[in-house]
């Protein structure tokens, strides 16, 4: 049977439709599953994606309430047995709040040890960014099929995307290669994170590497027409097939699909 992916929504999610589309474009059989769904039905999926948005209005802290939602039981159980779990933006915040990432010690933590919190400028920031794969691709199952050090275009679009944690935790994240993507320029040169994120971190994995929490949006940069600044888009002027073709962040989803196929 084809492994199925569930894009899970909570009240307040807002990027679910394009996330489903991006997964499908990479060949994954993907369903949209709402917060009122039956838990056993949710358990039947092979992988989970938590999309962007403002789940439960981001009350208390971004992701804090959703981390305790009923649906997260299924996600935790799945993560424990090695299912792939991807959180994008608000989904990433939820995974950190739920302790699924960084998940030191091989399991999720009862309390979050790190969080994606208020940007350094204390304001929402929507900006085209680049991120670079900062670990060995195989460190994280979802990136195993990506070329080493690949640079991908994405959109940062968040008010709370700055990684913050105790210095000991940050040291551990570095030492154990949890920072899967870092903000960079388009050539992969290191830059200071536009939101002030510690370690210039854009994405964090867990110890086992089956959970990935990524702040910028690959699904908003996975078709060429979405990349207004890119030379490739200009080169494709007048070619409608090409401009509607997968590009950029699509590689991220094809790597996800490859990992799903491997099981």
């Amino acid at each position: 049977m084809t492994p199925r992916v569930a894009v899970l929504t909570f009240p307040g999610s807002n990027s679910e439709v394009e996330t489903v589309r991006a997964c499908q474009a990479a060949g994954m059989t993907t369903d949209l599953v709402h917060w009122t769904a039956d838990l056993d039905h949710v358990r039947s999926y092979a992988a989970y994606v938590l999309p962007g948005g403002f789940a439960y209005e981001d009350r208390v802290r971004a992701g804090a309430i959703a981390a305790h939602d009923r649906l997260m039981q299924a996600v935790r159980e799945g993560a424990d047995v090695g299912k792939l779990v991807l959180g994008i933006c608000n989904g990433a915040q939820i995974l950190l709040e739920a302790g699924l990432a960084p998940g030191f010690g091989g399991t999720y933590e009862a309390r979050p040890t790190a969080s994606f919190t208020h940007n350094a400028q204390r304001a929402f920031l929507c900006r085209a960014v680049h991120v670079q794969l900062a670990v060995e691709p195989r460190r994280c199952a979802l990136t195993a099929a990506l070329p080493r050090s690949i640079v991908l275009p994405m959109w940062a679009s968040h008010g709370e995307g700055r990684l913050a944690a105790h210095p000991d935790v940050l040291a551990q994240l570095e030492a154990k290669n949890h920072v899967v993507f870092r903000y960079s320029d388009e050539r992969g040169n290191p830059i200071e994170a536009p939101n002030g994120s510690a370690l210039a971190a854009a994405a964090i994995t867990n110890e086992a590497g089956n959970v990935l929490a990524i702040m910028p949006h690959p699904e908003r940069s996975n078709v060429l027409f979405q990349q207004v600044w890119s030379p490739q888009r200009r080169a494709a002027w007048g070619n409608r097939e090409q401009i509607l073709s997968p590009a950029g962040g699509h590689a991220f989803f094809t790597a996800f699909a490859a990992a799903l196929k491997q099981g």
């Binding site: 917060w35 929507c126 959109w155």
Partner: protein
């Protein structure tokens, strides 16, 4: 009928006026006498509140409706003209369907001045419901904003800054949460808005022509259910419609604050998604229903218009309305403007399934306390509007009186004629450019744009700030694109309401064409002063003339719009005449679009259109502190030919980048083409002073704001381009070439692009750090 009467028939004018004031009504004695006369009895308390909303300027357009009839509203691109909550334009064919773009345009000026965050947020909330209720997916919003001066060290500036900051925060908080990209907008700062900001909002939706849901009870719907969906009804927003139709009063600002609604984007996010599911179900079952947003006049305003439009009546049981608190008076339940609510007219057989989608699948009652969908009444054959509360009938009103057309004759006052311009500066050095670029109406809007989510939904092809119009590609897999621009320059409005309206229509067209889109429709929001004052009303009349003439001249219909009156300063001066125009463009093939950034070194740079020596309303005039009265002039046949030629040149691939000339003039346009939005660019320009500059003077040539285009032309296609301009009989000026060095050279004057970029990029960061 057993109701608490509001005595009119036997009362004196003084008594009526005192009682109206006691109840916080905006209705005049004349209005109340007319109501009693038409009813043939004293109205009830609930009824007077209903009329207070329905007969407000906001709902009835009583001062503006005859004027608005002048606007052209027909054309091949019109799918639905201005009759319902939003207009619909034909985008194109895809996948065997004809697709339409729904557009609505509103203002939320008074609420935003008093409580900027909530006022601006509920502005987005309201416009999104207007689009949603047509059966559309909401695909984009845009905000034209007009704030007071923020650059002076005085308390007024401090307050203007507070308003400017929090309006932007409110727009971001709401739009970002519901997941609708903010794709366009503009911002001006003018002392005329110190006491009365303008917060307009435009929203776009997408649907197939077969899926339009009308805001009226469908034919043969007698006996159908009226279902209220959304937030639990509370005390907020009581008197909102009436409040927007009076002048803001410093003494009453506390009382008026209670008229402001409370936004809940979180709940709205879920209501939108649940409604999309209902649309899907109705399509599948081939059921026709009516759907309408609750705005002005609350439950009463919405449901009365729903049934009145279909030629029916309604009976509503206020006890079935989901309430947030006990003890609400019936008038508050009926007319209060609690946000995040919509009403359906549904065949009874389908009602349980619709309720289940809202209440169970999307669990509205769990998302917000007391929220949900519930049947509150039914459609009746008698054309009467009946409200019951606790077993009593509190309203029974003929709908032709409540919703019938209302007119108020306004006296046309006198507008002073503009004086002649003498002794204007004629020659000026290009070295003034950095100062013009740093002007608050010219400088980069990035600090605002980056606070809005411009790319959620994954459909944005050209985000705000990268070109003259925002572009989205709303149908996955389809090459069809939609461009949107909003325009309206208050510095022009201050001088001449009519010309300002004409120039706004022209600029909106140019902006849409500059990305390679064909203008297909317009909306307007007319933000003016007090229509009861002849001089203010005359500006409105002149502006509508200007809009109508220009739209006819350019052949583009208006399909929706809004009128916001009573926008005044505390000293009784009207805000600068502000006809804010939105233009929608359609793109057949999104791969054939361009941005406003230079792409390649070695390209030819061309100016399309004539420069004029007229300097009135220019940023240059303000920076140099001189008075001028002659605004740029408009010639429709020429503007139309320019638009056609530039569109043809872009879509045929001869043009690599395009930017219109507006605030700041030609040199600003050129400088902006070297910028990469968030950073100085790498491609510069070398400009040689054209003969034109010698004829009209460098002041008008460099900094005059007459409209036009600057185009980067592919050097390999230059002769094609020149002959195309010849076919359209258009004057062309070759300004120079793009170069690989990051400099801009104007004859002997050389700027580094980094220096120009810093001047342009910094100023608004002080307000939006």
């Amino acid at each position: 009928m057993n109701l608490d009467a509001f005595p009119v028939l036997a009362a004196s004018d003084e008594e009526i006026s005192a009682l109206a004031k006691h109840h916080g009504l905006a209705l005049s004695v004349e209005d109340l006498r007319e109501i009693a006369g038409k009813l043939g009895r004293d109205p009830g308390i609930v009824e007077v509140h209903a009329f207070d909303a329905q007969w407000s300027e906001h709902c009835s357009y009583k001062s503006s409706r005859p004027l608005l009839r002048q606007l052209p509203t027909e054309g091949l691109t019109v799918m639905l003209g201005p009759a319902e909550d939003a207009g619909i334009l034909r985008l194109g064919e895809w996948d065997g369907s004809t697709w339409g773009i729904v557009i609505a345009h509103e203002s939320h000026n008074h609420p935003s001045q008093l409580v900027p965050f909530e006022g601006a947020a509920t502005g987005i909330g309201g416009i999104v419901r207007d689009v949603l209720c047509m059966g559309a997916t909401v695909i984009g919003v845009a905000d034209p904003l007009r704030f007071g001066r923020i650059d002076r060290a005085d308390p007024k500036s401090e307050h203007a800054k507070y308003v400017a900051k929090n309006v932007v925060r409110g727009i971001g908080a709401y739009g970002n949460a519901i997941g609708v990209p903010n794709i366009a907008g503009d911002v001006y700062f003018h002392e005329g808005f110190d006491d009365n900001c303008l917060v307009n909002v435009v929203a776009l939706g997408l649907l197939r022509d077969s899926d339009i849901i009308h805001s009226v009870a469908p034919p043969k719907s007698v006996g159908w259910d009226i279902v209220l969906v959304g937030k639990a009804t509370d005390r907020s927003g009581f008197g909102g419609a009436a409040f927007s139709s009076v002048v803001l009063d410093a003494d009453q600002s506390e009382a008026q604050r209670s008229a402001v609604q409370v936004p809940d984007p979180f709940l709205k996010n879920v209501i939108m998604r649940a409604s999309y599911r209902v649309f899907e179900m109705l399509r599948k079952e081939r059921i026709t229903a009516g759907f309408k947003d609750l705005g002005a006049g609350g439950i009463m305003g919405c449901t009365a218009e729903l049934v009145s439009g279909g030629g029916f009546g309604a009976e509503i049981d206020l006890d079935r309305v989901l309430l947030a608190q006990d003890g609400l008076p019936p008038a508050v339940i009926a007319v209060g403007e609690t946000q995040e609510r919509l009403a359906w007219v549904l065949p009874r057989s389908i009602t349980p399934r619709v309720l289940a989608i809202y209440n169970e699948e999307f669990s509205l009652p769990l998302v917000a306390q007391g929220a949900g969908a519930a049947v509150i009444g039914r459609v009746t054959e008698a054309r009467e509007y009946v409200l019951r509360h606790q077993g009593r009938e509190v309203m029974r009103t003929p709908l032709q009186v409540l919703c019938g057309e209302l007119r108020r004759q306004r006296n046309l006052g006198w507008i002073s004629h503009t004086a002649e311009d003498n002794d204007l500066p004629h020659w000026v050095e290009a070295t003034l450019l950095p100062e013009i670029l740093a002007h608050r109406d010219v400088c980069s809007r990035r600090p605002i744009i980056e606070r809005y989510d411009s790319v959620v939904r994954g459909t944005t092809a050209i985000p705000a700030g990268y070109a003259d119009a925002g572009v989205i590609c709303p149908i996955p897999g389809a090459p069809l694109g939609v461009a949107l621009s909003v325009d309206g320059n208050p510095r022009y409005g201050k001088i001449d309401a009519k010309r300002a309206a004409e120039l706004a229509v022209c600029e909106a067209h140019r902006n849409v064409v500059a990305v390679g889109a064909r203008p297909i429709g317009l909306t307007d929001c007319l933000n003016f002063g007090n229509p009861e004052r002849g001089d203010h009303y005359a500006q409105l009349v002149a502006a509508v003339d200007g809009l109508a003439e220009t739209a006819r001249g350019l052949g583009t219909p208006f399909v929706s719009g809004n009128v916001s009156l009573y926008n005044e300063s505390t000293t009784g001066e009207a805000v600068p005449a502000s006809s804010i125009v939105a233009c929608v463009g359609s793109i057949e093939d999104v791969s054939r679009t361009v941005t406003s950034r230079f792409t390649t070194a070695g390209s030819a740079i061309y100016l399309v259109g004539e420069r004029q020596p007229n300097l009135a309303g220019s940023v240059f005039a303000e920076v140099r502190a001189f008075q001028a009265f002659a605004l740029p002039t408009v010639s429709y046949p020429q503007v139309k030919r320019e638009l056609e030629m530039v569109l043809s040149a872009i879509t045929s691939g001869t043009v690599l980048a395009a930017h219109d000339i507006s605030d700041g003039g030609l040199l600003v346009t050129l400088a902006e083409m070297t910028f990469a939005f968030a950073a100085p660019g790498t491609i510069g320009a070398r400009i040689e002073l054209a003969d034109l500059a010698k004829t009209i003077g460098t002041a008008g040539f460099f900094f005059g704001e007459a409209g036009g285009f600057v185009l980067e032309v592919d050097p390999k296609r230059e002769s094609d381009f020149v002959s195309l301009a010849g076919e359209f009989a258009l004057p062309l000026t070759r300004l120079g070439t793009t170069i690989a060095q990051p400099i801009m050279q104007i004859d002997e004057t050389i700027f580094s692009i980094a220096e120009l970029f810093d001047a342009w990029d910094q100023p608004l960061q002080e307000v939006y750090p």
